[in-house]
């Protein structure tokens, strides 16, 4: 009997394959006394050796595929394995107490974990996780239950797990992993963003998929509407195979637009560009015919590691992206950390309201050395293509002026050092705080462009935490209040001869596209996979129709009314 679950559609497409349950083996240990200490120590040493070989392999694979920096963490893991204070203590305990090695290991590891966890420092607390990771690996070998890695999957599967971390998703091999379904997460969680970059169908936030799915059961993941069907009937299989085919055909239709310009029926041109997180996403940008990059989230350069990236590392990444785009615009956002994105090594105190707290430009203007390093890397990379710089979370003109002054100082320093920088780099801001949207006419005199960040603009305007599921009904992109703010920002930029883009989820939303086009948005930045559908949608409408609909929508009272209006004017495929 099949079982159907509903989650959040995180990445489009339909996948059908056997389930691969991604979970940790049961590593409960029992205490055994009066054992043969010598044999136990030998077994322990053998388990250490196997773990070492595995870690060396993972480190090498990570280095090859993701670079030296990402591989560093495994160097630290390897040192834990060789730590004399740790492994000698385990051997000593086996010897002295004549207990089994797995028990001694578990106890010693827990002692160290306790020490690190009790430290009043987020970074050190995370090191407890490293020790846990390493000792689990050794313990798994001792107990004969080795840990499976996602990188080792060699047949077509759908990965089913509680949640997938960025490093889990980085290990996914697209050839075999056809899709994934998780218990937790939302459309903007890391696993969802990664799934869209990898173009793997995914449904997140199903709550119970790990509970309901057995290993090797057939699973259907419909990333278009958020459905997961476990153990489907023959009818359901046939139904979804035909839907899958239809979706593939639709994709083939869209693919024909890949090298076409983004124009409406009456020939009005807008820019359809892509959001990216790392240079790895460039493939998707090119495959989907995006006309540039409207948002390069640089925080991924800073995450999943243990210290700040150097100027050279950043320069290399930025240069790679602008060169790859070959003269097409690349809007790079300076570090937007804080809120739901933490950098443990900065050791920032926990806050009551992180989304309203010390984050993004606020943090950068405080940690100026870190910020200057990024600005220098950006200025240098600007010499290699069409790079634009964007500051996130700007609330006041003073913040913008201060950030821009730092940028100019670094530019002068670089010139004094004889280093080449980009000339006439456009400098803009994210509009995601209502005060900035209201003050857009004043900002428009000083900035070169606006990019509206709708995820945050909606959460701040509606006063609804977007991570809180109980208030998720207030996340209303089509609310006339939001549309009104968007309109005033666009109008303010045009009055000064500047342009406005949008880089939130809303920019690629089929209901929002006609409205935004009608309001005069110049640049739409979205997940790469949304570019071709949006281009196809745009080609079927005229500017006048869209403008009329948008004008009417602004006078409506609720988000639902707006949605109904758009659906009646622009029937969706």
């Amino acid at each position: 009997m099949s079982n159907s679950l509903t989650g959040i559609a995180a990445s489009a497409g339909i996948a059908i394959a056997k389930a691969f349950r991604y979970e940790e083996p049961d590593l409960t240990v029992e205490k055994k006394s009066g054992v043969d200490a010598k044999a136990e120590i030998q077994a322990f040493d053998a388990a250490l050796e196997k773990s070492r070989a595995e870690l060396e392999e993972i480190k090498e694979k990570t280095r090859r595929e993701m670079g030296d920096e990402h591989a560093e963490i495994f160097s630290a893991h390897l040192l834990v394995l060789q730590d004399p204070e740790f492994v000698d203590a385990v051997r000593q305990k086996v010897q002295d107490d004549e207990v089994n090695a797995s028990f001694a290991l578990d106890e010693k590891a827990n002692e160290f974990i306790m020490i690190f966890e009790s430290m009043d420092n987020e970074y050190m607390k995370e090191r407890a996780a490293d020790i846990r990771d390493v000792s689990k690996r050794v313990l798994a070998h001792l107990l004969g239950k080795p840990i499976v890695s996602l990188a080792e999957i060699k047949e077509e599967v759908i990965v089913v797990g509680d949640d997938l971390t960025p490093s889990d998703t980085a290990q996914l091999n697209k050839e075999f992993v056809k899709g994934f379904a998780t218990n937790i997460g939302g459309r903007t969680s890391h696993s969802a963003i990664m799934a869209r970059s990898l173009e793997i169908p995914a449904v997140v936030g199903t709550k119970t998929v790990t509970h309901d799915t057995k290993q090797h059961q057939y699973v259907i993941v419909d990333g278009n509407d958020g459905t997961v069907i476990i153990d489907p009937s023959d009818d359901e299989l046939a139904e979804y195979r035909s839907r899958q085919e239809a979706f593939e055909q639709q994709k083939a239709e869209w693919a024909k637009l890949k090298n076409e310009p983004s124009v409406s029926k009456d020939g009005t041109h807008v820019e359809l560009v892509a959001n990216i997180g790392t240079p790895n996403d460039l493939e998707g940008v090119h495959n989907n015919g995006a006309e540039g990059v409207g948002l390069y989230r640089t925080e991924f350069l800073y995450m999943g590691r243990n210290e700040l990236p150097t100027e050279e590392e950043q320069f290399d990444a930025y240069k790679q992206v602008v060169e790859s785009l070959d003269g097409k615009p690349v809007v790079i956002r300076t570090l937007d950390i804080g809120g739901d994105k933490e950098l443990p090594y900065l050791d920032l105190p926990e806050e009551m309201n992180p989304f309203l707290g010390f984050r993004a430009i606020r943090l950068c203007l405080e940690m100026k050395d870190m910020f200057r390093t990024q600005l220098r890397a950006l200025l240098r990379a600007g010499a290699f293509g069409n790079l634009k710089i964007m500051f996130p979370m700007i609330a006041t003109l003073e913040e913008f002026r201060e950030a821009k002054a730092l940028l100019e100082e670094e530019q002068q320093k670089l010139h004094a050092e004889g280093v080449e920088t980009g000339s006439d780099i456009e400098v803009g801001i994210m509009v995601e705080i209502p005060s900035t949207a209201v003050m857009a006419p004043q900002f428009a005199k000083e900035v070169d462009f606006f990019s509206i960040g709708t995820n945050d603009l909606i959460q701040y305007t509606m006063a609804a935490d977007r991570m809180n599921e109980r208030v998720s009904y207030l996340y209303q992109p089509y609310n006339p209040a939001i549309l009104g703010l968007v309109k005033s920002v666009i109008d303010a930029s045009h009055a000064e001869g500047k342009w406005t883009g949008m880089c939130g989820e809303m920019a690629g939303d089929p209901i929002a596209v006609p409205l935004l086009f009608g309001l005069g948005l110049d640049e739409f930045s979205m997940s790469a996979t949304s570019v071709l559908p949006a281009r196809s949608q745009l080609s079927k409408m005229t500017k006048q129709e869209a403008a009329d609909t948008a004008a009417e929508a602004l006078k409506l009272s609720t988000a639902d009314e707006v949605q109904q209006l758009v659906e009646s004017r622009f029937p969706m495929a």
Partner: protein, 87 residues
């Protein structure tokens, strides 16, 4: 015994990468090597020992080595310490 004292200048203190380099280097010597900070002394060949000190920016630390290759150990570790970690 050989020893040398440093002031940590790196913004993030002795965190994973520098700690890894120090421990790796210390492991190449026969001498007993310790890292002393705020009255605590840990085995510099133990990554968990080094990390557990939580050495931050501005901290004053001392590296001590005792054994047949103590001088060599101190001068090798000095190179690691000077790579953007301290002055």
């Amino acid at each position: 015994m050989a020893e040398k004292t440093y002031t940590i200048t790196a913004e993030t203190g002795i965190h994973a990468r520098p700690a890894t380099q120090l421990v790796n280097k210390a492991g190449q010597f026969e001498s007993e090597i310790t890292l002393d900070y705020k009255g605590k002394s840990v085995n510099l060949k133990s990554i968990m020992g080094v990390m557990s000190l939580g050495v931050g920016q501005g901290a004053e630390v001392t590296i001590k080595a005792e054994g047949p290759d103590e001088e060599e150990a101190i001068s090798s570790l000095d190179e690691v310490m000077k790579q953007g970690l301290s002055e």
